[in-house]
């Protein structure tokens, strides 16, 4: 059955709703924020985010920020990855 998985496939037929990517907060207005990535901007809900600030990177899914990305932990992880043995 490993053979089954050796060949990749054209997945990604479009609209995968589980996806979420880190986007930067540019502006905050009440329970909404304007976020951006690669020049794309959108207004999203920050209803369940704790103390969001401009400049924060947040994980955006289905029009809402589901969590903040911790830049310190991100750097730590990268360091761990670089030093793995």
């Amino acid at each position: 059955m490993t053979v089954l998985f050796l060949w990749a496939r054209q997945f990604w037929q479009g609209f995968n709703m589980c996806l979420a990517i880190p986007m930067k907060i540019l502006k905050i207005e009440g329970d909404k924020a304007n976020v951006s990535s690669g020049g794309i901007q959108r207004t999203i809900g920050i209803d369940f985010l704790k103390n969001p600030k401009i400049g924060d990177y947040v994980i955006v899914h289905a029009g809402f920020a589901i969590e903040k990305l911790d830049p310190v932990k991100a750097e730590e992880t990268l360091k761990i990855l670089e030093e793995l043995q």
């Binding site: 997945f11 609209f15 589980c18 880190p22 209803d47 994980i59 990305l69």
Partner: protein, 361 residues
């Protein structure tokens, strides 16, 4: 793209792949299950399988919300489009899923179905179009549920009389438990979903880990995250000590997103839920609480009667669990093809049968 490209680094990926091959030397073949459809896609997209040794097998679990939505739900959603003044709003990937006689996509050209990126957009549309009844198809796991909960709260605040949610939401841990128990699947480790975990927290996997002695690693979706997590699982297997590790700690916290969990708890309650290809799993579904009954489609709109055909001969349940292969299925590539899918595994491009079909051709 920041916080994405760094976690796709070519050289680090090659090195981790080398480490995995070293550590896995001499190990009996092991099955690790990645539960989330997004992990399945990432594994394929980045060609990760070829970076793993033969004795480390990644099996896709039932973490694709579109795949596990019962056919009956689709039939009812399609039936809703035939009602006057009703417009069905849905996430894009639901549209192609076949029901008994049709699909939502086929209703789209009649203007009765609209694609949205966010449930909130459906509520805003309802606010601006009071003469229409808007039904939002609530599909998705714990990553998506708080977004729908927040939307329902908004609808309540705005006193919307024409916005409804048809909940097909499910939660992951009960399905993972079912699979962990299953000796035939023989999972030796879980790659836990990244963003579901951001909501439910690392603590949610403690019981599964302890009760079934299964290593759990919460894995990010980028290739380095996945490779790193596979390495962590192999090391746990070798140490013969199962624990929950959080590889994705730049996003996932121990207790998850408390505000999101409170929101879910306020708006939804747990019920038993039917998973296409698997059957009913206890306490694995979510329905709107009484206090939000005004937004529950089943309490406010007479859902038309539908006759859902059985997926006769479909062995998706076994394929989903990795017990059988698509070749074992009598329907595979004859009655069941990517163009005309019967069961969950062929419906989604993430499914095992869809993958195998393309390999064969």
């Amino acid at each position: 793209m920041k916080y994405i490209d760094e976690f796709r680094n070519l050289d680090i990926a090659a090195r981790i792949s080398g480490l995995i091959k070293e550590e896995a030397k001499g190990l009996e073949p092991v099955n690790f299950m990645e539960v989330c459809g997004t992990h399945t896609m990432a594994v394929e997209r980045f060609g990760i399988r070829r970076m793993l040794p033969e004795n480390i097998r990644l099996i896709s679990g039932p973490g694709c919300p579109v795949c596990v939505t019962p056919k009956n739900y689709i039939d009812k959603a399609i039936a809703l489009t035939s009602l006057e003044n009703v417009i069905v709003f849905s996430f894009g990937d639901m549209l192609k899923v076949p029901g008994t006689n049709s699909s939502l996509f086929k209703q789209k050209s009649k203007g009765k179905v609209r694609i949205v990126y966010s449930a909130f957009d459906a509520a805003v549309f309802a606010e601006k179009n009071q003469d229409k009844r808007i039904v939002f198809l609530g599909i998705g796991f714990e990553t998506t549920v708080p977004t729908v909960a927040a939307t329902v709260k908004y609808a309540k605040k705005k006193r919307l009389k024409n916005f409804f949610v048809y909940s097909g939401h499910k939660v992951m841990p009960p399905a993972m438990k079912l699979l962990a128990k299953d000796r035939k699947v023989n999972i030796k480790g879980f790659l836990c979903p990244a963003h579901v975990s951001a909501i439910i927290g690392m603590k949610s996997y403690a019981r599964i880990c302890e009760e079934y002695n299964i290593p759990c690693v919460i894995a990010g979706f980028e290739p380095l995250d996945i490779l790193h997590s596979v390495l962590m699982l192999i090391r746990q297997v070798k140490s013969k000590k199962a624990k929950v590790e959080n590889q994705y700690n730049r996003v996932v916290k121990f207790s998850g997103n408390i505000k999101a969990l409170q929101l879910i708890d306020e708006v939804f309650s747990i019920n038993d839920s039917d998973w296409r290809g698997i059957g009913v799993i206890k306490n694995s579904g979510l329905i709107l609480k009484k206090g939000y009954g005004d937004f529950d489609v089943e309490k406010n709109i007479n859902l038309p009667e539908v006759k859902t055909s059985l997926d006769k001969g479909c062995i998706c349940g076994s394929v989903l669990k990795g017990i059988k292969t698509p070749l074992d299925c009598a329907l595979f590539s004859k009655k069941c093809t990517p163009e005309n899918p019967y069961g969950a595994c062929m419906v989604s491009s993430e499914g095992a049968c869809a993958a195998y079909y393309r390999y064969r051709k």
